[in-house]
Subunit: 429 residues, 2 copies
């Protein structure tokens, strides 16, 4: 049986998960692939802690000795971050090795450059674990959907945010308390900004959009809003109108251009995406031939991530056995995709105006909306204590993003209306 | 750009769908694959009808001219049935061509032989469209889960049955009326036996189990029951106890042996599988590393099936470009898997006894169950007209299949109890 030597960089949670997977299921993997894999070297800065986990003779404290080892054909980067991780991947590719990474932040930031380099060096840069955790969405988009025009991808791609929104919705908790629960349950970092601010989801949807639509999408150019403003009152009102609020990362083809966005969206409560609870991830795809399809699974965690790394490794073993050095991808990383203009997007909107309790407020709000050509569908006012600001919830008909923003600015400038007033978008499904 | 010549056999619904897909998305496919595909010849017996659909010069009325054409590298069999389809696939493989088929009935019946032949001839026999329609479950099981031990596969694999059960449940229709609706809506054949009797699902789960567990599973050896006995009353009672009734095809590893079954099962109403409506297919998978995952999509129809055929074609184009002639599969078609013994399976059961209305019936039922060591969880009797037989619904604790069958036989032999009495199994999820 052929034998492929692999170097593992990083023995944190995911690195340990992958090492354990290969220890436990390695022979099984070999019998399925017809080729066995040997983890020939492991680089970890914290060698003291690592010695308890893996054989001492495999350990090095510098990734460079892996990159320099001739017979290692695949480097698995699981250190995270965007500095050293970049050096590891870049130098491994330069050395002609295939690379596997779970690092969405790095790929979103410098993927265009790294994928281009990989193609030049005729190696593959694989990243199934970077998007959707254990859900094999990259393979599905790249291989299973090859006969389709992909019209729409809607994802629940950030487990932390979905966990928080689920707790807020099911237990009527305010954001801060639900965040605390997520932290206690191990589903949120001490600094949750990247998760709850939408950044993590924007990395993932940009990568997914790139491979779905064949060019590069810079996550810094997409509309990205997080869930920190969402309140239990908003969730309750949305539910009464038949919607759930979910942090949805989407990539939708409009007039041939991808509209790529991340925001807390209202989606129909009966849609399968609305039923995705807690830390689970999900990707809904709509294509011209496949039709609608939905994929659900664990979006993070050492084991699910390790499963995706192993899937990439299976593909690379195959590439090595077949001497496949095309390093090709069904997309051109040097070509930046022209996105559908943000201000032209059209949605139905859910406005939440925070207002004083006094005559004239309704007139000001409805007047401003009318002036901006926005048609009101329904209005609900929650009014508990007249001395406190009250919540005015307004669902409106389809409008252009530009109109909605202008209306919000104008209403918020009125006397007695808080600048904290905001809107959410309703996603058609 | 390299060019691969393909022969298409059969221009029925699926054949036309695939031809249309390649006409519409062929250049897209080529740019993704870096290789273009030419449908070089199409065989269809009904050439008169076919002439209206495809260029006349491509048409032949005998598949043999495709098999004999040297430069055709891939044969796509979309005629269905198990006679001519077998000849087409067998002769194409013998001629050294890769084959794509959507024919689950044929593969379930003679797959062991055909996969063995394909390996000998160093070609691939691909069948993504045969299981789960557009859901890429074969690729997921074979490639994405390569690092996992697959513990459990539960599928809603027959769209017709799921459509009927959904109508029965949502509109309180008897089976015959729901079947009629399915036929009117185009979701059931004039002769629905293969669908509603569980046969179609048994073909699919046997194939899935073979590739998940690495050996052959003969669908004729598995426990297979259809949905024809299910009544709206049973569905209603199940719902009141927190269950939905779905035709579930399952392959579950018990003590290292696969238990492969098809039957109408009670599953928890809150489980995502319970929410799969109408003709949609779904596959729930549980693995040691991936954890639980769920894949949903269209299980049939020309377009979804064409999408899966195109996915297989993408893989074969890659194999051809890389001169991959291993024809290997991560399973040994000559090795019949030893199934977990049917009578040893353990479930909770839902008994439905159809009884006369008179004293002593409850005593007979509960006595028989007790004699067989079966513990009653709850009992519900529906009693509308005392002169009519009444429905006695009994949920019982976990028991072995052997016990449950013996108890049913004994109760049904009692005076005043109908031989139509039956049970359903509750699947743990």
């Amino acid at each position: 049986m052929e034998r492929v030597k692999v170097g593992l960089v990083g023995l944190g949670t995911v690195g340990r998960g992958f090492y354990e997977l290969m220890s436990r299921n390695g022979s099984h993997f070999a019998s399925k692939m017809g080729t066995s894999v040997e983890i020939a070297r492991i680089a970890e800065i914290d060698t003291a802690a690592a010695q308890a986990l893996v054989p001492r003779e495999l350990l090095v404290d510098d990734y460079r000795s892996i990159v320099e080892q001739q017979d290692i054909k695949v480097v698995i980067e699981l250190v995270g971050g965007t500095d050293v991780a970049y050096e590891i991947i870049q130098s491994a590719i330069e050395a002609g090795k295939h690379v596997i990474t779970a690092n969405k932040a790095l790929l979103a930031l410098r993927g265009a450059e790294l994928f281009k380099l990989a193609r030049e060096k005729q190696v593959y840069l694989k990243f199934e674990a970077a998007v959707g955790g254990g859900i094999p969405i990259i393979k599905i988009v790249r291989e299973s959907l090859v006969g389709n025009r992909i019209d729409k991808i809607l994802g629940i791609l950030n487990g932390t945010s979905n966990y928080i929104l689920t707790r807020m919705s099911e237990q009527q908790l305010p954001f801060a308390e639900a965040l605390q629960q997520a932290q206690d349950a191990g589903f949120a970092e001490a600094d949750p900004t990247l998760d709850v601010g939408g950044g993590d989801a924007s990395h993932k949807i940009s990568l997914l959009a790139a491979f779905a639509f064949g060019g590069w999408v810079d996550y810094r150019n997409i509309l990205c809003e997080g869930i920190t403003t969402v309140t239990p009152g908003e969730i309750e009102f949305a539910a009464s109108a038949g919607f759930a609020i979910k942090l949805i990362a989407s990539a939708i083809l409009i007039d041939g251009k991808p509209s790529v966005t991340v925001f807390p969206a209202l989606i129909p409560a009966r849609h399968p995406l609305a039923l995705v609870r807690d830390e689970v991830n999900a990707v809904f795809v709509e294509c011209d031939y496949l039709g609608p399809a939905l994929f659900l699974g664990r979006g993070a965690g050492a084991n699910a991530t390790a499963s995706s790394v192993a899937s990439d490794l299976g593909d690379l073993v195959q590439s090595l056995v077949l001497h496949d050095r095309r390093g090709g991808y069904p997309f051109d990383p040097s070509r930046a995709l022209e996105l559908y203009p943000e201000k032209e997007m059209e949605y139905r909107y859910f406005f939440h105006f925070i207002t004083a309790n006094r005559p004239g407020i309704w007139a000001a709000v409805t007047g401003c909306l009318a002036d901006n050509g926005i048609n009101i569908e329904s209005v609900h006012q929650k009014w508990e204590d007249p001395s406190e600001p009250s919540d005015l919830y307004v669902l409106v008909d389809e409008a252009r993003e530009e109109q909605a923003r202008k209306a919000l600015r104008e209403v918020s400038a009125e006397s007695g209306i808080s600048e904290q007033s905001r809107f959410y978008r309703i996603l058609p499904l």
